[in-house]
């Protein structure tokens, strides 16, 4: 499903119109930044209507109908501009000098544009305008994909202009709200595409459409995979990270996955993937570094254990990478702090620049950040991974055994659509 969206994004046939709009919008924006704020403020002053996971899952039963899609879009259309406006306003409160930083101002402009494009749609009543909206939404979502590295870079350059607590608060808010935006946005876009796929399939084979088959597509509800197998995902991620580690360092530790390997969970795969790649990246890199430092002849493997409890899936990642010192432990969940040496990023000649097929764009960027890619060591990995884990009611804890290694405990709550589901 993700691969499908990714391929659709790259082919972008209809983005011609969008491009034109964008260039005049940019000129438009430079005057908009000071005088024409009333629209943004009007939206930003509205209350956010949280949606529960249950609501997101309510279209679980296939096939999707036109009503479902229109219902979904009405929520997105009402809600997304409000949330985007709030993000825009949050930038207004930054100190002027911080706002003029080119990276931060770039992200600001992107949010502004997304708000501008999406709020301008007339109320949607038919499938045609819904399709327009969904494609715009999809495009804007794509444009907002790499705001995190941008913001990361920007804040790194602005360290001395803002106290740490304020920086942290801003980034936490941004990331949390971004997760919500993307979940809602991507969920709708995915449903929209799913609906049209089903329509096409029904046209081609009307007889089979009537019979409800338990194909693999049944497991998807938008971006939520209801039968995700953590063990399999960990295998894939570990394999990928191992490859990248090998590419960058010339060597990599082994790994094995044990525990409840046949368990399944209902979760957003791209989130799971992002978090675990982030954690595995740290484990692999630390192991290689520590082997160098301690002069041991081989790398102890990374141990991954999957456990399933009531409504939760647990992942424990153990490494023998020497652990994190007590001083550093205080910092690992801070933004713009990293233990990556500068030599790491200098060494890299873009060899890790190629994206790995089948992985979400987000994960690709994350991997580039960590394993010596062009934006290595910006110090956003762990705090963000934790925010993602906590977003649906999970948790992320790290235990450091200095001189030996780290144990990471990740708990993810299954998105079941139950009454206790978090509102996002």
């Amino acid at each position: 499903m993700l691969a499908r969206i990714a391929s659709l994004r790259s082919s972008s046939p209809s983005h011609g119109t969008a491009k034109l709009c964008r260039s005049c919008l940019c000129r438009h924006l430079s005057t908009k930044t000071h005088y024409d704020e009333t629209v943004v403020y009007k939206y930003a002053s509205q209350k956010i209507k949280p949606v529960s996971i249950g609501q997101l899952l309510k279209y679980r039963r296939l096939p999707l109908s036109a009503e479902n899609i229109l219902d979904s879009v009405s929520y997105s259309q009402a809600e997304l501009p409000v949330r985007l406006a709030k993000r825009v306003i949050s930038f207004h409160r930054l100190p002027f000098i911080v706002g003029t930083n080119p990276h931060i101002s770039q992200v600001y402009n992107r949010y502004y544009e997304a708000f501008d494009r999406l709020h301008a749609f007339a109320p949607i009543n038919d499938l045609h305008s819904e399709w327009e909206f969904s494609r715009t939404l999809e495009h804007q979502t794509q444009l907002l994909i790499d705001v995190i590295p941008e913001i990361a870079q920007g804040f790194l350059e602005c360290k001395q202009y803002m106290p740490r607590e304020e920086r942290t608060a801003f980034i936490n808010d941004l990331i949390r709200s971004r997760i919500g935006l993307r979940v809602i946005g991507e969920q709708h876009v995915a449903l929209s595409f799913q609906f049209r796929d089903e329509q096409k399939a029904a046209e081609q084979r009307p007889d089979q459409h009537a019979a409800k088959s338990s194909s693999t597509d049944d497991v998807w509800v938008g971006t939520i995979h209801t039968k995700l197998m953590p063990a399999r995902m960990m295998e894939q991620c570990a394999q990928l990270v191992q490859n990248m580690c090998e590419m960058h360092y010339g060597t990599a530790p082994g790994y094995y996955v044990d525990g409840d390997i046949n368990e399944t969970v209902s979760y957003v795969p791209s989130h799971f993937e992002y978090i675990t790649c982030e954690l595995l990246k740290n484990a692999f890199r630390a192991t290689v570094d520590f082997s160098n430092k301690s002069g041991r002849s081989s790398h102890p493997p990374i141990q991954i254990t999957i456990t399933k409890g009531e409504g939760y899936v647990g992942v424990r990642i153990r490494d023998q990478g020497g652990g994190i010192s007590k001083q550093n432990m205080r910092n690992v969940f801070e933004y713009s702090w990293s233990s990556v040496q500068e030599t790491d990023s200098a060494d890299d000649n873009g060899s890790t620049g190629q994206s790995m097929a089948g992985m979400s764009l987000q994960t690709n960027l994350a991997l580039q950040q960590g394993l010596g890619g062009p934006i290595a060591g910006l110090g956003f990995g762990l705090p963000m991974a934790r925010l993602y884990a906590e977003y649906f009611g999970g948790s992320l804890d790290i235990v450091s055994m200095e001189g030996y290694g780290c144990d990471v405990f990740l708990r993810l709550r299954s998105i079941e659509g139950s009454v206790e589901d978090k509102q996002i």
């Binding site: 409840d260 456990t307 647990g314 652990g323 200095e402 030996y404």
Partner: protein, 425 residues
Amino acid sequence: MGSAQSRRSLQQKFYENRILDRFTAQEPKKVSLRQLVLFGRQLTEEKLLASANYVRSELPVRLAHRISDFQFLPYIAGTNPHLKTVYDLYWRAFDEFRRFPVVRTLDDNRRFCDNVKKNLLEHSQVIPQLGMGVSECADLVAPDEIDRFMNQMLISRISRRTLAEQHIALSEQFDEDLRQHLNLLPSESFAKLAKAPPGFTTQHIGIVCADCNVAQLVHECALHAAGMYEEAFHLPPGSAPQVLVEGHTDATLMCIPAHFSYIVHELLKNSMSHVMERFAARLETTGAAESESAGDPAFPPIRVTICASHTDIVVRVSDQSGGISPQVLPYIWSFTHPLKAKRLHNFHSVHRMEARMDEGDAAVSPLVAFGFGLPMSRIYANYWGGNVNVHSLPGHGVDAYVQLPRLGNAVENISSRRYLVSADT
């Protein structure tokens, strides 16, 4: 003691409090393990007497702070008979020690030590009494407040007993050497005095060990815990879950072995009992229980990993006990959760408890759980600047971590303030 009389004595205490105030105004003089070791390594009569006077003046100060804690409990809790028993015990001890004359000779010291020993014995009922009192007050006082109170009480108790036991150990060693020297010719005696006294290796100073081997300590605790359960459940030896020790097996640290053992022992006990419970069915199949062949052991082993850095030791105890149920998990560090109130009642069947690994043989069957092993372990760890943490893997098992400083240069972690701001989970 009639109620009128007890009321009068309470009221009398109110006015006597001015004496207490003089002591609560003083700060405790904290020591570190290193200081204890350096002090005790080359003991002279003068030093021993100095140690006696240090303990003599420290105990009333520390007791005074804790008595003051009692006084700030809600009135209704303070009148609970069990808590009142402890309160009275503390008052008597405080009074006795503050009146004790300055120790000037070795004879004085012997009298002092006898006094201290008597107190230690008398106060071994404190933990059961506190346990009972606290469980009865669970409805009357906020759980947070009770936990703070208990943490404060227990950590101070450990500190006083540590000082007392250390001094007694040093005194006994000194006396022993003195007796030996008196049996020797003057020239020999002089020669012996010149180097370290026999049996008094530079590595064991009183109750402190400067180079305690962690792996060995873990093995001893494992043996003890296994023996306890095998006896209680009438199992053949070797059938309790195996404990495998790996990692930095050469690592040593400066510590009080009795404290460290308590913690490791508690964690191993928890692991063993829950693993056995989870796989209880395996005990019933005759093959598993009786055979000692090289086939699969009845239970998945408990893996203990020792990790040493320059400054710290971390011991990880990892089991496949199935994890801690989500209902219990938020309360494992608390003394007062309703689930535990039932267990704290078990204190009624115990009169003495010193929270030591080796007292299990005498008093109580290990099957009786008090629900305070984990919080107590954490207190022992916190006392010297360490910690105990537990992570549960739902459906799989538990990883418990004990972290202790190695070098012994952290001072005692006690507070004189009424409410200690304790470390979060």
